[in-house]
Symmetry: C2
Subunit: 172 residues, 2 copies
Amino acid sequence: MGEFFEESQPMGFEGKVWKFGDHIDTDVIIPARFLNVSDKDELAKSCFIDTRPDFAKEAGAGDVIIAGINFGCGSSREHAPLAIKAAGIGVVIAKSFARIFYRNAFNIGLPILESDEVPDFFSEEDRISVDVTTGEIKGLDSGKQFFAKPIPPFMQGIISAGGLVNYTKNKQ
Amino acid sequence: MGEFFEESQPMGFEGKVWKFGDHIDTDVIIPARFLNVSDKDELAKSCFIDTRPDFAKEAGAGDVIIAGINFGCGSSREHAPLAIKAAGIGVVIAKSFARIFYRNAFNIGLPILESDEVPDFFSEEDRISVDVTTGEIKGLDSGKQFFAKPIPPFMQGIISAGGLVNYTKNKQ
């Protein structure tokens, strides 16, 4: 999947909020019947296709997913963060992530942040800006500012390199 | 659950479309952690709470769920059609229903209709009218008319009585 996305990627995003609740399963993110898909555009189209058929059509570049606890639970599949990233989502903010999704997201270079307050504050379609490097999250309608839990610098390095494969390549 | 809803119920609805895709699981309709809930308002609030947190807040009386194949698959739970009905949804139209959901919906008096064309034609938030007795489905924006697959008369009797318990009571 090393060539799937750009060699490096932006760390700042501005867009609108897509709100989810708790325990979003990888099978909801991308149903198992699409796991044979490897084309980026096809993956993007399959993201949340059953529960939110309009998501792929309407999610704009830099939009942000905000969710509750245990985002990305269920069966492990790199396709889940890949599909989210392919759909144009800049960053996922959740109260917590399922452990394997967390690793998969870093591996493929999808920025994710944890916060307890942000998910309760923001609503569907709120406008938001996120700086993944500093962890600053701002509500553009309210002006309210939050900071996500800090990410270890080497994990930030993986994200900004566009994933683990590129990161390792750059290190050599 | 006999006292859960009115003794009889309307068979005509006018509202807006909530669009879903294929294989909507009962655990998506109402997550397992809410299966101890028996209060109608609480059930309504839990409907699609994780994947569509705004659903319960914004679904209006008489709104219509439109979905693809195999709606209501996964574990059998009467809570699933109950939660949909409690949320104010008038009728669910799908290409097909999971067998047990189909029976549960009739048992608790949630009108459901099958159609192959309707799910492909309607989009999120389209305005729609549905007559469950005749099976007539009309797009209020387009004026386009469809007919659902007919329901056997005794099944219609169960629905219009508000479910199996009331139906049996009325027969005595």
